[in-house]
């Protein structure tokens, strides 16, 4: 998309026309059709109708998510319409984790079913469970204060003058980019105004307390840098608006080729908001699907394409695949992974990238470098281990063929 917007283009009837490559045969073919709508001749060059400008604006967020996010963040920072926790802006990523990822992994309440609550309710549940210091609650109250909301709404309303579409005819890539940027910015302002209006309505209808709790929770996480509830956690990466969302596995046991059991300690499987979204183990840990024992090792996954777009659904999928692999992926019979649980005398597998053998199509690539040997004997436990007998610790790879 960015490459397209660096060329010189022509605008005609709301469509972007791109240069038609010069080819004598094509020249002959198009000679009789210049009057047709699809072709435009400008300064002796032919352009072909390619893209609706309106459609480009409507779908820009999907076509160039990173560019859109950069613009969106700049817009939010420029207008200061979003709260800050110290120097840390509470941007869309934290919002996405809190409202999109957290509800998947935190249980509202146990017991017989009643009304199923939505994502909004779970934030109230979390806000109720976490002791949020008073200063964040006060700051949230100021942020959603009706007078302040009205003031911000007025600021935004006076800021953007309506934009006219660019003139028809040739347009440089730079001019087009600038126009698109201003149009997207105006649209973001409209959305922000809608959001502020909704907040005002809720505030005036007396539903502001829950709103305040949620905002106080966001301020608290952004400022403190971390939060953990029911085994699900959020941890900020440095002083940025990027985070790691993680889920604890709890203790679990795996079975080896001979049916012997190995008790694995709890670990945190995390996914950072920085794309590609790939699951890793946050602490120093060993497992057949981890290359060594260092913290931050990616989990070896099969047929998994990490998402290059940050969304709640992609984060949930990466977390689930990572946990699923650690808990359920090891086959005692096939001894899959970098390492075998039992000290086998059978050959393990090494891969030579150029040995000419066909590889299964879902093998993304083959490592040729060597990995360290990891021993699991210290994890061995008897079958009558109290945790396993009582059912507190599950043998999670029993059913893996």
């Amino acid at each position: 998309m960015r490459n397209l917007l660096t060329s010189n283009l022509v605008l005609k009837s709301g469509f972007l026309c791109v240069p038609l490559l010069f080819d004598p045969e094509m020249e002959r073919e198009t000679a009789g059709r210049r009057a047709a709508d699809a072709l435009v001749e400008t300064n002796g060059r032919l352009f072909v109708k390619a893209l609706s400008l309106r459609s480009l604006l409507e779908n820009y967020e999907r076509l160039d998510p990173e560019g859109y996010r950069e613009l969106s963040d700049a817009r939010l920072q420029g207008s200061r319409t979003w709260p800050y926790a110290g120097d840390i802006p509470i941007g869309g990523k934290l919002e996405t984790i809190i409202s999109g990822v957290l509800p998947r992994f935190v249980r509202r309440s146990k017991g017989r079913p009643g009304r199923r609550s939505g994502p909004e309710d779970i934030l109230d549940v979390v806000a109720g469970k976490v002791p949020i210091p008073a200063r964040y609650i006060e700051e949230a109250a100021v942020t959603i204060d009706a007078a302040a909301l009205r003031r911000r709404l007025r600021d935004l309303e006076g800021r953007d003058a309506p934009l006219n579409p660019p003139d028809e005819g040739p347009i440089s890539g730079g001019d087009l980019r600038e126009w698109i940027r201003r149009m997207l910015s105006a649209r973001m302002a409209e959305r922000e105004k809608d959001r502020l209006r909704r907040m005002l309505e809720r505030r005036e209808s007396g539903a502001g307390a829950a709103e305040g709790n949620r905002l106080a929770l966001q301020l608290y996480i952004a400022a403190e840098g971390s939060l953990e509830i029911d085994g699900f956690g959020i941890s900020r990466i440095g002083s940025t608006d990027d985070y790691i969302a993680y889920k604890r596995t709890g203790e679990y046991a795996l079975k080896d080729y001979y049916g012997r059991l190995y008790l694995f300690p709890d670990c945190r499987v995390g996914v950072a908001t920085i794309v590609p979204l790939r699951p890793f183990v946050m602490e120093s840990y060993k497992h057949p699907f981890l290359e060594g024992t260092d913290p931050g090792q990616p989990i070896c996954l099969r047929a998994f394409q990490p998402s290059r777009v940050f969304t709640a659904a992609a984060m949930i999928r990466a977390l689930e695949e990572g946990i699923g692999a650690l808990l359920h992926g090891y086959s005692s019979r096939r001894r899959n992974g970098y390492h075998s649980l039992d000290r086998t005398t059978l050959p393990l597998w090494t891969a030579e990238p150029d040995d000419g053998d066909p590889w299964p199509p879902d093998y993304p690539f083959v490592r040729s470098r060597l990995v360290p040997y990891v021993d699991f004997e210290d994890y061995r436990v008897p079958k009558d281990h109290p945790g396993i007998v009582s059912g507190e610790v599950e043998v999670t790879n029993d059913l893996m063929p």
């Binding site: 992994f105 249980r107 070896c300 996954l301 099969r302 005398t345 050959p347 597998w349 009582s390 043998v395």
Partner: protein, 140 residues
């Protein structure tokens, strides 16, 4: 963690407790909840109860989304109860729990898991024993 109280057939028959069956997709915290009143589940195989729950039609929109998620996991996956196959009856695996109001019930969580076969192996061994310290994963 407190040790869960196993149901035990005699006790349940004496107390006549309802069964709360929850089918949870993947690693989610919450799933599809169905309640079986006493007398309607004791003799039925657990697998049959799960099928009955999954075949119900009158789910809310939120529950339908969970049902879709469960079905996605079951495409290539399986239902598991505490790491084991769902054999036997609900009474074999359920635990007694209590609501905040003090109402006792049997609770049985079932997970729909599609295993991630991380680190699968290439089609033939090439060499190297682990004692000498070297192997590769071959997948990631």
């Amino acid at each position: 963690m407190t040790k869960p109280e196993k149901a035990g057939k005699t006790e349940v028959f004496e107390q006549v407790l309802p069964l709360v069956l929850e089918i949870i997709p993947g690693q989610a915290a919450e799933g599809l909840i169905d309640v079986y009143e006493p007398g309607s589940y004791e003799e039925k195989p657990l697998r049959k109860l799960c099928e009955m729950t999954l075949n119900e039609k009158n789910w809310s929109i939120e529950d339908q989304q969970i049902l879709e998620d469960v079905n996605r996991q079951l495409a290539g996956g399986r239902l598991m109860c505490r790491g084991r196959a769902i054999d036997g009856t609900a009474l074999d695996q359920a635990v007694v729990e209590e609501t905040e109001e003090g109402e006792r019930y049997l609770y049985l969580p079932i997970r729909a898991i599609k295993p991630q076969e991380g680190g699968s192996l290439p089609s033939r061994p090439v060499v190297r024993a682990p004692r000498e310290g070297r192997a590769t994963c071959g997948t990631c």
